[in-house]
Every structure is written in C-alpha cells, then in structure tokens.
C-alpha cells in the first residue's frame, strides 16, 4: 500500500507562500520518494526554485517515514532551522503534512496533492486499489474493487458502456466489470453475476467527522513508543 502523490504546480505553491520569505522544507523517504514528489532530489530542486522566486530556505530534511510519530523527534532535532522560517513546506503525502502540522508550531503548507491509496502495477505506473469504504465487497467481485476500478462504482455492473474491455469514460481505463467477469469466468463463478448486490451502506465510508477505532490492548505499546 502506498500513498500516491503528485506535485502541485509551482504557481500554486508560490501563491500559498506569498506571505513567507523564509521557508523550511520537509520531504519523505517512503511514498513521496517513490512517487518522485518529495525525495531528496525533489526537495533540493524545490530549494532552488524557491530561491529563484526570492525566498530563503532556512533548512530541509527528508524524514524516513513522515507519517510516523518519529517525525516529532525529527522536528525537535531541527528546531533551530525551523524556528528561523516563517513556514514549513511539506513535500509528503497528506499523512505526512498532517503529522508535521500536529507537532510543529509553524504554518504548514502542502506541496503535493495526495491522489489515492494505490499500488505500483509496473515500475512507475500507479493505480488506485481501495478507497477504504469500510464494507469490503472484494469477495463478491473476484478481488477487483468495483468502487475504485469502475468509473461509476457500480456494484451490479457492467453498464452499457463497456466496449472491448474498456470503460465508457476513456479508452485508457480498463472496464472493471470486464475484469471481474473474466476472473469469475476463470473460476467457474459466472452464476454469481445474477445475484443482486444490495445498496451499499456508505455510513462506514462517509460518516460525520473522521472515522476512528480503538484497537484493544495496543494503547500501552503506542504510549511507550511515543
């Protein structure tokens, strides 16, 4: 599982940083490095671009895994350079941005857009795998997520737009329900296509406020790691 990101346009970043003259940069050694949006070379590149735009970069670091609580220690270790800055520009996925914002007493800006939780199908090619809906139907759909793979998120597909294995939305998108059909056919489960999948309970996906759970017996451990 990887958090897939894309760099925001430089213009947008400059607009966000309009009030800041001194900037501290943070990248991430995991997902953002893999996506080439917040690894060492992207951070250094950003440093140059900001300098060209008349900003001063007071310092930078690439945290091994920015979403981890260890980010707090990394911020402490670099407190001086961070304190010298007006803000922090975070070149990590949204998890890293949120972690930095939680522990740093500075304005925090995101340099990348977090696109989806996905996997790398072939080198450099990422695809969304799951939107974490909270009511998994992969068992009914041969291990292919219809919510992210089908453009309409149909639970009873395919729609009438599926042609030659492609989705009606674009010839670049494989029709999820053609894939589901093929896998069901390969495992002798085609009869299941006539079973109606009932309306989904979206309350597990889009509830009021953040979704959260507490897993018993782990609180102590988390505390001691802190």
């Amino acid at each position: 599982m990887k958090s897939i990101t894309r760099s925001k346009p430089l213009e947008e970043i400059k607009q966000r940083l309009a009030k800041c003259r001194q900037v501290y940069l943070i990248g991430c050694g995991t997902c953002a490095t893999m996506c080439r949006t917040g690894g060492k070379s992207e951070v250094l590149d950003m440093k140059q671009k900001l300098a060209a735009a008349g900003k001063k970069v007071t310092g930078w670091m690439v945290i091994p895994t920015a979403c981890d609580v260890l980010t707090r220690d990394a911020l402490k270790e670099n407190a001086k350079e961070i304190a010298a800055a007006d803000c922090i520009l975070v070149m990590t996925c949204a998890f890293g941005v949120q972690t930095v914002a939680r522990y740093a007493e500075k304005s925090v800006y995101a340099a990348v857009d977090t696109l989806f939780i996905g996997t790398e199908e072939t080198p450099g090619e990422f695809i969304e795998a799951c939107l974490q809906c909270g009511g998994c139907v992969l068992g009914q759909t041969a291990g292919i997520c219809p919510l992210v793979r089908c453009a309409k998120g149909l639970l009873n597909g395919p729609c009438g737009g599926s042609v030659d294995g492609k989705c009606e939305v674009s010839p670049d998108i494989a029709c999820a329900w053609q894939m589901i059909y093929d896998r069901l056919a390969a495992t002798g489960r085609l009869d299941e296509l006539e079973e109606i999948e009932p309306a989904k309970d979206w309350s597990t996906s889009l509830s009021g406020g953040p979704r959260q759970i507490t897993i018993e017996d782990t609180e102590e451990k988390t505390e001691s790691q802190d």
Partner: protein, 305 residues
C-alpha cells in the same frame, strides 16, 4: 395492473407498443417540451423524458414530465442515479406519483466526465439495479429502502435499459435477468443497428423465458446523415453500427430519406423477432420525422385502451 398507465395497458394487452424519447431544453422555455409532446402524442403510447442525458444539464425530468402530464400526454420519467442519492431519488418518486406519473425508468446514467460539467461530483449512491429494487419495494411493500413505511399507494410501472451491444456479450442476458429479478416491468434497449446480434440476444432471452417476465422494447435511432452515423460509431459508447449502414448513408443522394428507410427496415426486422413487445424511438433532435416513421411502419393508429 401495477400502475394502470397507458403503456402498461398496451403491453399487458399484448399489443405492440411504441415509445418515443423527448429531450428537455437547456433552458426554461416550457414550449420546447410542450411542442414535442404535441407533435408526438398521437404517434406513441408514452413519451420518455430524459434525465440530464449524456450528463449535460437540462430542465429536470420531473418538471418536464409534469408539463407533458398537464397536456394529457403520458410520460416515462427517466431517473439516473448519477446525480441524486437515495434520499433525493425516493423523494422525487413520491412527488412524481403524487402528480400521477406512473412510468419510471431507472438507469445509472452517463458519467459526468462525458458531459458538460466534468468537474462535478458523481453521486452513484446506488446503481440502476438497486434503484429498480428500491422502486419495486416502494410499490409492493410500501417501504423506503431503510424499511420505514410509506403512507399512500405507490403505483409504478418500472422500466430499465439494456444494451445488448456492449461487452462482454455473455453478461448481457444475465444482467437483464438481474434487472428483471430486481423488478423491471419493461425494458428499452440501446439502438439496434446490428440486427443479428440483437436477435442472438433475444434468442437467449426467449429460451430462458425472460420475455414473459418483462416487456422488451427495441431501441431505434433514425439517422439523419452520414456524419451523424460516423459520429455515433466513434463517440457513443455501446452503439454498434455495421459498415453496410454507414456505406448506405455515405452513398445516398438523399441522406435523410435513406435514414428513414433504414429505420423502417430496422423496425420491420425487430418486429419479427420473437419476444420483442415494442419499439422505443430515440430521434435525438429529429423528432419531426417520428410521425412519418411511425406511420410508414404501419404502427398507426395507436390503440386506445
């Protein structure tokens, strides 16, 4: 009778039904839909009103259906799950029934990316099969999807769409069976140009006896020009147009006359296919030709029941 609409009566009596599509305007003038109603009412059993078809904003289907209803024209209200969640959909069904609209056709709808508001958030809270189920449950059990009681009757004649020309072909009959199981009383198909594929689909349907559990109306699009047919072939997903039709349109001296001729031939052919209970004509902006086509197809006068 489930809703007692004209369309239901005609289909129940075993007569060959004719429905015609009328798209609402991209504006506020009621006359656009009223004119179409006036033009078409003698030539069909019900007029389908599309719901922001191809994801392009138009006057709402419900409001347009009311305009038709006020003139005494029977509408088929199309309902796409793309733009409304289950709360809004059920609420509109109640409103439609209160105004005497009995035919409702369920579809998922074209994706917003294909329309004129590609930045909009697609809803798809439920899909077309589930919407059919919701409507059936509202009618037969007087219950909303959450199980709460509905006060009053919900007489509905429930429609659905089917595209025998989309892929994979093998899934197309099972998917129809699923819609019938969910509660589809009638089916309007995507436009038929490839008669042999359509006949192949119908054959499996009649072998399974599904034609006795629902009423299938074959879709007909009269083509106006060679340009239109080429455009449809390349841009309209799930429409399959054989090359000989394209060649005929390209070679024709009078393309419009040839288009009408092709439509008439298609109607004659689908009429002969066992299990086909009617046609659904989608004239996409060429509604004025519909009366001539229906008349020359020998489908007049429309039965009064």
């Amino acid at each position: 009778m489930k809703a007692g609409t004209n369309l239901e009566k005609i289909l129940a009596s075993g007569k060959f039904a004719v429905t015609v599509e009328a798209g609402p305007p991209k504006g506020t003038n009621p006359e656009v839909i009223q004119k179409k109603g006036n033009l078409l009412c003698q030539y069909c059993d019900a007029v389908n009103v599309t719901d922001n078809q191809t994801a392009i904003v138009r006057m709402s289907s419900l409001a347009s259906c009311l305009l038709l209803k006020q003139m005494g024209v029977e509408p088929v209200m199309q309902m796409a799950t793309r733009d409304r969640n289950r709360i809004a959909l059920q609420s509109d069904v109640l409103g439609a029934v209160a105004w005497g609209i009995g035919n409702i056709l369920c579809l998922s709808g074209d994706h917003p990316k294909l329309g004129n508001h590609p930045q909009s958030k697609a809803v798809f809270d439920i899909d077309s099969v589930q919407l059919i189920q919701v409507l059936k449950n509202m009618r037969d059990e007087h219950k909303f999807i959450n199980g709460d009681e509905i006060s009053g009757e919900v007489p509905l004649f429930i429609g659905a769409v089917a595209n025998p020309f989309a892929d994979p072909f093998e899934v197309r009959v099972p998917r129809l069976a699923k819609k019938i199981k969910a509660g589809a009383d009638f089916i309007q198909t995507q436009a038929v140009f490839d008669v042999s594929r359509f006949a192949q689909w119908m054959k499996i349907i009649t072998e399974r006896g599904l034609d006795e559990e629902t009423h299938i109306l074959a879709g007909i699009i009269p083509i106006r020009s060679a340009g239109m047919v080429r455009y449809m072939k390349n841009n309209v997903s799930g429409v399959n147009i054989p090359d000989d039709i394209i060649t005929r349109m390209e070679k024709a001296e009078d393309a419009e006359a040839e288009g009408v001729k092709i439509a008439l031939e298609l109607i004659a052919k689908v009429k002969e296919i066992p299990g086909v209970h009617g046609i659904h004509v989608m004239a996409v902006g060429w509604e004025k030709k519909v009366p001539e086509i229906i008349e020359r197809a020998g489908l007049l006068p429309r039965p009064v029941l």
